[in-house]
Symmetry: C2
Subunit: 482 residues, 2 copies
């Protein structure tokens, strides 16, 4: 676009929103141009910060008229480059951060998209209820971004992904109109269920400005165990046993490989080994219950005791207090961080049918080690959801850049196995830029065509976060890291 | 279309599918032209019964080329006229009735669209698992239809609607291509989640040929209670108490008004009064658990005992055996049937936020009685889901046809209250024909425009179940009952 028409657009926005909320200075823009891991650097005309839904609608309508792209951002904590702008404006939702309503009896709450996830959780707790969505970045991630990316995280096993926690949405469409779908209903078949088109679309089909969320009874009893296992297959057998024994009371089953725990103990601050001996694999398991009088500790002791007798568990410890539970959880939560201390990591966010998970871990590790024998695989994560962060830590002493240059090669190796086992190459982090071209290459062509039709139907001028998830043209701009 | 081109299409289909599966005789067509309650009678060129997905795709492609509409049908048990054809062919999915795979560890199964719901349940049970979707017509309804209409039913409270039980779909598109989205994953963000566009679209956006479903641990302990209550508000308070006390162990909370129970006892065969006295309202409650050793009976006794002490429950009985539980359930299940013995019923399938449910019942009953004082309201159903079948039984002695002629007037009265309380006029039965024009009149115009854009994007020639849910033209053919 010409400098004149850009200037005219910014003047229009400034007049409505005020100069404080239409920023073109490098200092204001900078944090919105880079992805949290530094994989991409974008550029933008301006950072625009509307204060309410009407201002979002006004901004998007003005951009639509001027044919200027709009990249919506929340906390900018995404891991796939989905929020990085390449031209146009960055529309920050962060000023839309009000709690609109809480309804404990109806077990729902309505929040604006820019509310920090931890604040959403706190507001639910204040109403005596639980909002279970949770992941490491919850102190800065915004609920709108979590919904736009259908985020997963640590509570999916019992409560589902972000998608499953949404009852209704308010969305600004590509032309600036507002769709009010803020229903708080458990059953609603009044026409097509439009909210699902926007959830997980990463800001490419519409901009979520508010959401009505499901709440759950708050947890009254919780117990966390850390388990040493002889093998991945034992982990799978243990999971099956706990699921049968505790059903949805099993609220976490996270997998940690021996190398992962060793890294945590080596680099983590204030951590100590949870078990005496060494084991091939570890699982962090959590039982919790909202029932008055529930005794999840005894239940967990009994279930793990039986698993030990069955030879599935070599050793286990159970946290005896909230502080001890938190210390066990920390061993899992530190994993992404401590990897950095060991150099570069080539990452995969994959999911498999649970029944293929052990096969996948064995085959993928073997294939990667065959390609680079000194590699240190560190697959960890949400085992109970079939979702593994199949990360590969660089060999000791290797140049980090040289290792990361192998990213595409290892992606090919791992994702081929995922495809053969009917898994997904984008389990909980989404597609964004980092997986866009691979998705286009590997997805079912009919499905890909459907995605493009949806995009063309809802954003015909390709103005909403263009170039992310799916590209409308056959020759999209290349998705290159910095 | 001309007779010649119709004949050419049928010849093409007959050549591929065989004459046995392309029927034009009145006897074969008849059961596919009427809706189960006799509200509509349609017409069709032929009944086509493909035997597998490829034959469905062939049929749809041939129809697309000839611009002939296709109305998909499963068991034809729908209640909104959604499966009634008005021209074109009826495509029955009933020969696609194979179980493709069961994976107990992965807790999923893949079934073809034409499997009878009860057979799907049985196949899950045979694998030691539970498929919870359940409603009265499960002995003849097909799973594909249940998914296409996002059916609700009796197990939504703990397990969700049909939508929530689907992991993946195989769909034949309007042009005859097949989208293979049969993933068995708990997390998958590899692009837009296409399955949700087809679930609940009532065959207007694509034809579901197979589905991968979620399974759950089978129930090992179940206990059913029948409760006499002083008021609707007491029912709500009891629900809140049971939800807090049993969480997702509370697998049913159904509401029955006094008049409803009286009808059941008057007209039902082999039924007896569950409680001695008379009460303003009744609830059927069920606790169930997959945990070995769970004692849901003691749990239910304790919870109901506490509620009685709190003055919420006037009287209660708990089934002591599977047969007694079934007898209590029967009192609820007979309700739709016994209404017929009392004459005509004007029906509403509405949902409300739970926190508005008592207000709604009071206001809607009062408004209807003000309009016709001798009316007999019989609102019943899935109270815990906020879903009430707000049925109005005709006055004693009134002419049935004269009463049913008031259908639109009472719809207006009831739906206006639903709208004011942010509810839905189509909770679990869908839109079909019966609510299409009302949806068009009352829905958020932006949402309606989005629905039409989806329809135009996925079925540009308006060939899939045309005229249902949304109509593409401003002047659609009228949706008139027989």
């Amino acid at each position: 676009m010409s400098d004149t028409s850009a200037a005219r657009l910014l003047a229009t926005l400034t007049e409505r929103l005020g100069a404080r909320h239409v920023r073109t200075d490098a200092e204001a823009l900078e944090p919105h141009l880079v992805e949290s891991r530094g994989l991409y650097r974008g550029h933008a005309l301006a950072l625009v910060e509307p204060g309410n839904t009407e201002e979002v609608a006004f901004t998007v309508a003005a951009c639509a008229e001027a044919r200027v792209p709009v990249t919506a951002q929340g906390g900018n904590t995404g891991l796939v480059g989905g929020g990085v702008p390449f031209g146009g404006i960055v529309l920050s939702l962060n000023r839309l951060n009000r709690l609109r309503a809480v309804d404990p009896l109806g077990a729902s709450m309505t929040v604006e998209a820019g509310m920090v996830l931890a604040d959403v959780q706190a507001a639910a707790a204040e109403a005596g209820m639980l909002f279970p969505l949770s992941w490491a970045a919850e102190g800065s991630a915004r609920i709108g971004g979590g919904i736009a990316t259908n985020a997963g995280g640590l509570a999916v096993l019992a409560y589902g992904n972000a998608r499953d926690l949404v009852l209704g949405l308010e969305v600004v469409l590509a032309d600036g109109r507002v769709w009010n779908g803020l229903k708080a209903l458990r059953k609603n078949n009044a026409g097509y269920d439009l909210k699902h088109a926007f959830i997980g679309s990463e800001g490419t089909l519409g901009i979520i400005t508010a959401a009505t969320l499901k709440l759950f009874p708050r947890v009254l009893s919780r117990s966390v165990g850390f388990v040493g296992l002889p093998s991945v297959r034992a982990a799978l057998a243990l999971f099956e046993r706990l699921r049968a024994g505790a059903d949805r009371g099993l609220t976490a089953f996270e997998y940690i490989p021996r190398f992962g725990l060793e890294m945590v103990l080596r680099h983590g601050i204030d951590v100590r080994a949870p078990l005496e001996g060494r084991h091939a694999a570890y699982a962090l398991v959590e039982l919790s219950s909202p029932r008055p009088g529930a005794d999840t500790r005894s239940e967990l002791e009994e279930l793990l005791g039986e698993a030990m007798e069955a030879g599935l568990v070599e050793d286990a410890t159970i946290g005896g207090s909230a502080a001890q539970d938190a210390a066990l959880w920390r061993l899992r939560e530190l994993l992404p961080e401590v990897q950095k201390a060991e150099g570069g990591s080539i990452k995969h966010d994959v999911s498999l049918p649970l029944s293929r998970l052990a096969d996948f871990l064995e085959e993928a590790e073997a294939a990667c080690l065959a390609a680079m024998p000194s590699l240190r695989p560190c697959p960890f994560g949400h085992f109970g959801d079939g979702n593994i962060h199949f990360n590969l830590t660089q060999p000791v002493g290797m140049d980090k850049a040289a290792f990361l240059a192998e990213w595409a090669r290892f992606n090919d190796i791992v994702h081929a196995i995922v495809a053969r086992m009917d898994g997904s190459i984008a389990a909980e982090h989404g597609v964004g830029l980092i997986k866009r071209d691979e998705l286009a290459r590997t997805a079912d062509p009919v499905g890909l065509d459907l995605m493009r039709r949806l995009k063309a139907a809802l954003d015909p001028h390709d103005l909403l976060n263009p170039g992310k998830v799916v590209a409308l043209s056959d020759d999209p701009p290349p998705a290159l890291p910095v």
